[in-house]
Symmetry: C2
């Protein structure tokens, strides 16, 4: 039996998020992926364990999931082998063998998300599924100053959707910055983990900063308030992409041999 | 009665091309646009005259069309006024009044198309609707050399889909070059007009050059042969976007006053 770590890219537009639902009519990325892998490996009980539960309409270029399989297919050939079994909006980008005790969620060191904004007088229809549209010109410099104020270890309860039941709302943000290219403004954020809707609430707050509704210096006060109502709106899902999940695979492999 | 020139952006994915079809079940960009404008202006006989007949799956950021209307809506407000009547994949970007004898097709000076290629080992699902996927690494330098060989006035019969009934296949290409950014390779081509599938056949030929199947120096021979079979394949529609259509609106306005 091999444990295989998959890197998965998808366009989340047509899915009710990553996580498989009990009702088979609800199309999810995990559901489609599991179906394809079960067919490929002729293994009706195969399950995927994903690293991140992306929401409805959210995209990924570097989602990760593990499967346990007995197979003669060389591991590096799995992406190509599964291709014709998957819809065109889900792609297995990479497959690699990992130690038997590797867990895609618990072994994650950090994750990077990108949130994209189309900032211009008119919508761009080719970008409508991959950006949120903001008409008024955003102040990039202020957004960047505000973004840097997210860096640190804080209780991010003010940036967590109501109804979440996590035991701790403390998270570490290692990096957060804003870049623009043409009409697209991208927010990049890297942290050890994210609360429910956290990146989208951060994005909504940074948009408010860019519109001069919130000052960059208020970010820390908002965090420390722990009050969801002080932060900005939850920005739309289609602007969000899970870019990368980082593991110390080498360290892990050494551990498993030790 | 005012003649109004509209600039239209659309994602062509869900349409059978620009041009309205006799069958109302066939969804086209022109058909949807006309429906929205007829509702806005309460003018059931309003017709659009488009500048370019883009194909099924082809996109536009700068399509143009004229309408003739009696209206009290200020011309510059039309894009916003029609927005809620249009599906989200069609956007009227701009509206401007033009002289009564202006024609979007006959008065066109030149057009620019972009053809986008996703060149990398694995598909990117977020780019699948807006690029063609080429696995093997393309030689950008050779593609650029080949692209420059398209510039000039030639009989482009070798770059025209069979079955076309135009009276002349002579066209002038003013500019043609290739640029890359990350995994995306873009071909830009500007000319006074294009034959049926011409840009997509040029793109297919430039991809063959990038794959070392055709040498840059062969471009001129292929053009001069007039033989469609000597050129490359017709590249997929989703990589193509009509970027811009150029008019000498100032000169035209002066003419109409003279």
């Amino acid at each position: 039996m091999k444990r295989i770590l998959l890197t998965i890219a998808y366009d989340g537009t047509n899915y009710s998020g990553w996580q498989k639902q009990l009702s088979p009519e609800v199309k999810t990325v995990e559901g489609e992926l599991e179906k394809a892998l079960r067919a490929l490996f002729r293994s009706p009980n195969l399950i995927c364990i994903g690293a991140s539960r992306t929401d409805r309409g959210v995209h990924a270029l570097g989602q990760r999931a593990t499967i346990d399989v007995e197979t003669n297919i060389p591991v590096e050939k799995i992406p190509l082998a599964v291709r014709s079994l998957l819809p065109s909006d889900i792609v297995v980008v990479k497959a690699e063998e990992v130690p038997a005790d590797f867990h895609p969620r618990y072994d994650c060191i950090k994750k990077t998300y990108e949130y994209r904004i189309w900032n211009g007088p008119m919508r761009n229809p080719k970008e409508r599924l991959y950006t949120t549209f903001v008409y008024s010109p955003l102040d990039l410099e202020k957004m960047n100053k505000a973004a840097s104020n997210f860096i640190g270890t804080y209780d991010f309860a003010a940036f967590c959707a109501a109804g979440s039941t996590v035991s701790s709302t403390v998270r570490s943000i290692f990096d957060c910055y804003v870049k623009s290219e043409g009409n697209v403004i991208s927010i990049y954020v890297t942290g050890d983990g994210f609360l429910y809707n956290m990146v989208r609430i951060m994005a909504g707050t940074l948009i408010a900063v860019g519109q001069d509704k919130v000052s960059p210096d208020e970010i820390l006060q908002i965090i420390l308030s722990g009050n969801r109502e002080k932060a900005g709106i939850t920005a739309e899902p289609q602007g969000l992409t899970l870019q990368e999940i980082y593991y110390d695979l080498h360290g892990k492999a050494v551990d498993s041999e030790g």
